[in-house]
Symmetry: C2
Subunit: 139 residues, 2 copies
DNA sequence: GAATAGAGTTAGCCTTGCCTAACTTTGGCG
DNA sequence: CGCCAAAGTTAGGCAAGGCTAACTCTATTC
């Protein structure tokens, strides 16, 4: 079980997107990763090579990339943090762009303990619409 | 009124600590800033010079540093985000070290809209101890 | 008032992560 | 089957933000 903090926040962003792409399209190409992260394809190649040497992905030149078990673990952890934050902000009606930007910035810095707090709050608000309604009115 | 995003997250960290030091000791020395951020004094000098050219601090060689109005505005904005997050996590009993680390990582990425959400939640929990108690029991 | 410890600064270097430009490989199509 | 466009890679460069080592001020102490 790899520690989240063993990989840089940039590396985590790559793993997250590779995970999403494989989940939705079945594979992750350099061009798609580059588009998702809004960076140049050349930067993706370089990072993928680094992630390979770190044992987080398996990279075959010109052939594509898949996650190792460790890479998968990290990606799922990041996605979990992402989803919790997004659910919280979405329930308060924030627009998707703001949600995306804030969550992308914050998700890498949330410890297990803080994640538990956020999960607790989100679940309460989803179970208790009256409370949510009341809070939304206060904003 | 300077935009928060006009300064890098590193710059914001410096402004925040300078603000805290001036608040608590009346002045901000290079050595104290370096200690607070856990970096080398030389790095502080370099950044302070940059902040000066950007008009966020006034720097006099060997003499110390003060915040300009713009620097003050940014620092207060960062501190506000910090305090809200810290209050939220503290109310759930997280230990101070975790709070500090998570908040320090997250605070730079919170938009005004998200900040409003967090303020609303914190204020409700502080006004409604029964709810807080209930949530804490679920964790 | 001079010596000196400690604070601050400068110079030069390193890593991360991005870029563009130029080259290579792949794969679909005639 | 070979061509060539699109995808991927390599090389070289740049900015941010750290570092250490060596130098310069400051200010305290005698």
């Amino acid at each position: 079980m790899p520690d989240l903090q063993s990989s840089s926040t940039a590396a985590q962003d790559y793993l997250e997107q590779i995970h999403r792409l494989i989940g939705s399209k079945g594979y992750a190409r350099v061009a798609d990763i580059a588009a998702a992260l809004e960076i140049a394809p050349a930067s993706v190649t370089t990072m993928i090579q680094r992630l390979d040497t770190e044992g987080l992905v398996v990279y075959e030149k010109y052939r594509g990339v898949v996650l190792t078990a460790d890479g998968q673990d990290i990606a799922e952890e990041v996605v979990k943090r992402h989803e919790v934050l997004a659910r919280l902000l979405r329930s308060f009606g924030l627009d998707e762009k703001t949600i995306y930007q804030d969550v992308e910035g914050m998700e890498h810095h949330i410890s297990k303990a803080t994640l538990r707090v956020l999960i607790t709050i989100v679940e309460e608000l989803e179970r208790n619409p009256k409370l949510l309604q009341k809070l939304r009115e206060k904003m």
